[in-house]
Structures are given as C-alpha cells and as structure tokens.
Symmetry: C2
C-alpha cells in the first residue's frame, strides 16, 4: 500500500508519470519498473477467465523460439509475411527458408520485421491508431499472421504449452480459454491433411494433461468454443451447433462453454442467432454461455443491446460488458442473476474504447460493489503483456479508489475462481490450492 | 432525429468521422457543419448556469474588436503579450501602440499572435497537451492574458455586454456568471485608480440593466462571487467573507451565490475553509453555495472528497461533479437533496479529463435518470466555442443514447431554469418567456 500511495501521489503531482492514463503500448517498461507491479506479479492470482487461444504467449517469445524452428518457409519480406511449414523446398520462388532469409538480410532485421507483424505495439499509438477501426485492423492482421504461423500441429502445441506456462509463471492457478479450434493446422510437414476440430481438441487435451502433470498445483484448463460471429444464422445452425455437439460428446469436461467472437461492432448481435442458441441450451443444459456483449461505446446500437440478449439467454458471465454501466436496469439484473463481468482494462484501452483507465466503466462498478467482476487480459501476447498481472496493475492503480488495498485484489482473485466454469467440487479443490499458495506467500512476506 | 440517427450511423460505419470521440479543438468546423448542431443552435435554450466572466466571448471577436480599439499599448511581441491602456506614450521602450505594431509587422501576423494567446486551440492537442497540467498551464495563460487585456473599465464593460449577447444570440434566456470581480480594472486611461469589487459589481449591474432593456425576452443575469481557491484559510476568512458581505449588502439581487474556483487538483479542498464557509451561511442564510467539486480523475484524493463537503454544506448545485459517479452514496444523496450537477462536457474534454465524450460519467447518469443535470459551457471563449449549443450538441450526440430525442433536450433546458438561483416568482416568469420562445419556434418548424 505504501508503494501504491507513493506512485499515486507522484502521478497527482506530475500527471505524465502516471501509467493508467497513458496507453499501455507506451508504458510497459515503466509499469515493469513499478514496485506495485512487481508486488502484484508475485502474488498468487486465481483464474484467468477471458483469454484467447492464439494470444496467450508473448510475441517476442514466438519470434525467438517458434520462428527459429527448422522447416519454416516464409514469403512477403519486407511487406506482410506468410508462413509455410515443410520439409521440402517448394517450387515457388516466393517461398524461402526463414533461416536463409536471416542469412541474407541479418537476423536482427528479419526478427524486427516479424515482431512488427506479431505485436500491435507502435511508438505513437494515438496517431497510428487514431480511430477504433485502425487498431482493430492492426489487431486482426496480427491474429491472421500468428494463426498462419501456428499452422503445424507440433508448433501449435508448443505455443499452447508456452501460453499455459506464461500464465502459470505469472501466478495464475486456473485458465479458461476461448478457442476457435483452428481449422488450418497441418498434421505433418507435407500437410497431407489438416486437423479437424475434434483433433485439435484432442491435441489440447494431451498438452493440458502433460502441463498438469508438470504443474500439480495448477487447477486446470477449460475451453470455450468461440467461433467468429461475422457469419449468417445458417452457419451457426448447421456448422457451429454440430461442431459444439461433437465437442461436448467427446470432451464434455474440457469444452464447457460457448461464445461468438470478433469485433462486436462489426459482427452480428446474438439476436440474429437466437433460435440456434436456444436450441443449443435445450439440447445440452449443462453447457454454459459466456457471451461477449457490450464491448462498445455505441450506446443504443445493436451491439450495445447485445447485453439484453446475453442476459435473457442466461449467460454465466459477460465478456467485457463495457457498456453495462449505461444500462441501469441490466446492471441490476446482472447483480440479481449473479452474472460476472469479465473486465479486460488493457484490451479496452489498447483497442480504442477508453484512453484513461480511470474513465473505464468498471471503476464506478468497483465503487458500487454490487456487480461481480473478474479481471482478465484478453489477448496479452498481442501487445507485449503476459499473464494477467498487467491488468491487475491497471485495475489496482487505475480503476480502484486510492485507499482500496490488498483486500480488493484478494476479492478479485476469489471471484476469478467463484465465477469460473469449474464444478462445485473442483472449485473447492481449486480454492484450496489457491489458498495454500496465498498463505505461503503471505508467510514469506 | 433523422439527422441524429444519420450522423450516428455514419460514425458507427466510419469512427473517425464521429465528432464526440475527437477533441473539440480539432472538430469545431465539422460540428458547425452538422445538421444536428445547426438545429440545436436555433433552439431556445433556458439558462446557462456554469460560465466564467472572462471567457464569455469568442477570442476572435476580442482580437477583431477589443484589440482594434485606440490607446492600447502592448509589449512582448513575438513572445508573451502584455497590455496597457493609456492615452499617453509611455516612457518605456517596451511598450508600443498595438496599431503601430500592426503597421510594423502586418496586421495578420499580429492578430495571429494575439489569437494564440487568447485561445488554447492547437492543431495537435493530443501531443501539445499530453497531460492535464500542460493544458491547464495554457488555459491559465489565456486567462491571465485576457484579464490583462480587459483591465480598463469601458473595455471590460464592452466585453461583458458582448458575452451576454453571444449567449442571447445562441438562444439562452438566462445566465449565471461566476466572477472574481477582477481587481485590476483601471477607471480611466491614466489608471489613476482601479475599481473596487463593489465598483465592478456596479458596472456589471449597469450593463445588465442596459442589456435587459435591449433584450426584454431575456430573463436576467445572476452573479456568483467566485474568488480563487489557491489561498490560505485566513484569506477566505478576512478577505472573501468581507467582500461577499459587502456585495450582498449592496447587490443582494445581483450577487446570489458563492464558489471558489481554479484547477481543483492544484487548489485547496473546501474542508480547509470549513469554518468560514459555515459562518458565511449562518450570517446570510439566503446566500446559495454552488461549489465546484469533483472536477478530477483522482479517486480518493482530497479534491475528489470535496464532493462530500460540498454536499454537507448544502450546496445548491455542484460545478462539474465529474467524480460523482464513483461515489454511489454521494450520488444517492445528491438525488435525495435535489442538487443539480453542472455538466460541461467540452470543458472536461478540452481540459484533459476524458477523450471520448461517450466515456464521460454524465452518460450513465443520463441513462439512470435520477441525478438532476444541467449542461453548460464553462469557458467557451477560450476554445473557440460560444454560448452553450456546442455543449448541448456533445451531450445529445455523445452522452445520450441513440434513441433519446428532443424530449431530452427540453428536459435539460427546463432543468437549467428549475435549478437556477432565480426565486420562485422569477422562475415562473422565466419559464413563461422560455415557453413562449419554444412554442413559437416549434410552430415555425
């Protein structure tokens, strides 16, 4: 608390030194040097309930590890990169082994180029990302690049394990990952076939089992099937529904939730898929909805009113729920129905919803205390963050009142287990693991 | 409404075209071209309850009129200007007649220089005003420059009349002005003496009488004595209290309220002056407090907690109250005690509290509907605005929900009379005048 007050007082005296009012993209280093951050980083942290499968690990790790693997061919230098994993030299002159490209143009230059396409950080975010669509374009480009890069099963797998490790190292005890179960993953270096959704899930399950053996104090990993929302109702009815059914049949313990992802303002609201969604739940009452809703500043637009349908569909949590504060009746309903809001402060700042974290709507929600909140990091790998500590730092320094202390953090950590998709007994076990870590840490303080 | 929906849909499709998410300093022209603005500009508008005496009129009017008056000497070109009104050539070589300076360096160049020091507009506000202290420094410089320029009674008077005219032309029917009753105003060109507070008030009264004769449909002008808050409790006790008593004795109808002004975060909270403030009210129960409070993003700091003391002191309204949303108990109290919040969206944006108007805390307050709000413009003359139409535009387009229509505006206009310092009978008369204008306008539509 001494560190917190110190850092806040310094900000009050000299506002430009205050991290939460500046873009995270410009402040990572300053945050890493903050004593508050260093303390939060060491804390045991409960669950991370809102993250995406292909943004789990830092881009710098990807460049230094994945892109130094053998058999990686690349094209597009020095503009947009494309990748191909193969054990033969392709015919096309477009493709070159990445190791050869490094020999030709120096490793440093090539790594920088790769980094630029795997991480949305820029020096002047307010200029380059002057409106929300520009930053979303950059973000979607990064997503496509990384998806392309991970399109070989052992590599996808290695990334997945690294992602879990980064969260575990950051003090996280449990994780729920929204995933598309990507359809472009080659089984072998000849790419004789790509993995089906079920095969990806099977691969995930295997990696998770190994990870849990390696980290017996970790509570577990749950997946949320979250295909993109920019599709017609027919796609949801014919494709998503069937895929979900198969996943639930084969991996009922692993895949527990359903959501639809991508930039909400450009996507379709839930109401367009309402019939299928109702059917989904009727066929599989154990399935949990964890809908993204209200990740928008456009009050009264269809994506804003998504919140209504998410609540009517008995969603277990709401992803982002940024707009909730402007819907007093829905806010009340959310509290009554005990629906948790997954707040991702850095994501909302980086992706253009708010500049100064203190203006984030979760701040009044914390002050009011009746809306259950969980803090998460959405896509940390895409903007130089890792795990969830950076987001807890922003929440503690930017969303919470000056005198709110460790008790707030502990409450948020507890929430992140309470509002998880774990079953009651699993929850109890996870609480025990978390409490052990917490007590050990506090004793050592 | 058609125009509103059209403009919002255009913003939704192409966010960079949307005015409320961009700095007003960059968007004045686009707003002036908006059909929504053009409509709001023509509407009859009730009262403007939160404005300051030396920011009433546009800087461009000041440059084109006041600085073209005879007998104005200037120094400091091309750095910071200082002004002296005199009918003799001063001895110092520093001073030069402004007309001569124009001959020497071209009028355009000199006017540009003056404009730069009388208006805080810049082309790249996000860079030049990268933190809240920088923009406040620029703003305070403008205040000092204009105060210096208006330091001759007939000129001060001319500015005051122009200020009232700009609001009247903008459709405003009534105005409450926070004023310091500046102490630097010379009575004559020899500056043989400066006006006392009472003499300034007398001058104001005379101008107001003439203005009301010229504009019989205007309801009136009320002044709020609002000296600066960056002083010791002794100054409030010995100087402010006595000045207020004299003003109230001589001009009980004109001077009805008390406040303390200047950047709240750098000033003193009310609690430091509490004894004098209580004494003030005991000696003069008719006096109304209209305290600035919570114009801050620093949650839990002394300036934030100002809100508590303003409410405990039975303030009639709260100036800005930006932080109120983060104090759920105070928010309830404000509703119960029927205290109005004076929201100045452009001021809060320009002075660095919030970037996107949709993140302004008044937006959820409008959605909730239990906190009484009035919209005002604070210091329009300092940033190229005039009257209150620009602020109503931001409120209508940026704070309100998509489907909120003319009824919201009418409610806000009504509030601005209901929550004024007018007495019940005056209020009734003012409502009648406003209603006449409104009905006439609606008939002509």
């Amino acid at each position: 608390m001494e560190f917190k007050i110190q850092e806040l007082e310094m900000g009050f005296q000299s506002p430009s030194s205050y991290n939460p009012s500046n873009s995270f993209l410009n402040r990572i280093q300053e945050i890493e040097e903050s004593n508050v951050y260093k303390f939060i980083e060491k804390l045991p942290k409960g669950g991370a309930l809102h993250v995406h499968d292909i943004s789990l690990a830092r881009a710098s790790w990807v460049v230094q590890n994945i892109t130094y693997e053998e058999n990686l061919y690349v094209s597009g230098y020095p503009s947009k990169p494309a990748f191909k994993w193969a054990d033969y030299v392709t015919n096309s002159s477009h493709w070159i082994l990445l190791s050869e490209l490094r020999n030709k143009f120096s490793a440093g230059k090539v790594d920088q180029w790769l980094m630029k396409h795997l991480d949305i950080r820029v020096n002047n975010p307010y200029e380059e990302y002057s409106d929300i669509d520009k930053v979303w374009t950059a973000f979607l480009n990064v997503m496509l690049t990384i998806k392309n890069l991970l399109s070989y099963a052992p590599i996808y797998d290695r990334y997945f394990y690294e992602g879990l490790s980064e969260f575990e190292k950051d003090g996280v005890s449990y994780i729920e990952i929204r995933t598309l179960f990507p359809e472009n993953i080659c089984e072998d270096l000849q790419c004789s076939k790509t993995l089906s959704t079920l095969e990806v899930a099977k691969l995930n399950q295997k990696t998770i089992d190994i990870f849990l053996k390696d980290h017996p104090n970790f509570c577990g990993v749950t997946l949320i099937y979250a295909p993109i929302r920019v599709v017609s109702p027919e796609v949801v009815q014919t494709k998503y529904l069937k895929t979900l059914q198969k996943l639930r049949e084969c991996f009922p313990n692993l895949v527990r939730g359903f959501d639809l992802v991508a930039q909400e303002d450009n996507g379709k609201p839930l109401i367009e898929f309402i019939n299928t969604l109702i059917q989904m739940k009727q066929m599989d009452p154990e399935l949990k909805f964890v809908f993204l809703a209200g990740e928008t500043n456009w009050q009264g637009f269809s994506t804003d009113e998504n919140l209504i349908d998410a609540i009517l569909l008995n969603t277990t949590r709401i992803g982002h729920g940024y707009a909730l504060l402007k819907h007093p009746i829905l806010k009340k309903l959310v509290a009554e129905k005990n629906i948790a809001i997954e707040t991702c402060p850095i994501s909302n700042q980086v992706l253009g919803l708010v500049k100064d974290i203190r203006n984030h709507p979760a701040s009044p929600l914390i002050a009011e205390g009746s809306t259950p909140l969980v803090i998460s990091s959405d896509d940390p790998g895409s903007w130089g963050a890792n795990g969830v500590s950076f987001d807890y730092y922003e929440a503690f320094m930017g969303l919470a009142r000056k005198h709110m202390d460790l008790r707030l953090l502990k409450q948020l950590f507890n929430n992140s287990i309470s509002y998880s998709l774990l079953k009651p007994q699993e929850k109890e076990q996870c609480f025990n693991k978390f409490r052990n870590k917490w007590d050990n840490f506090m004793e050592r303080l």
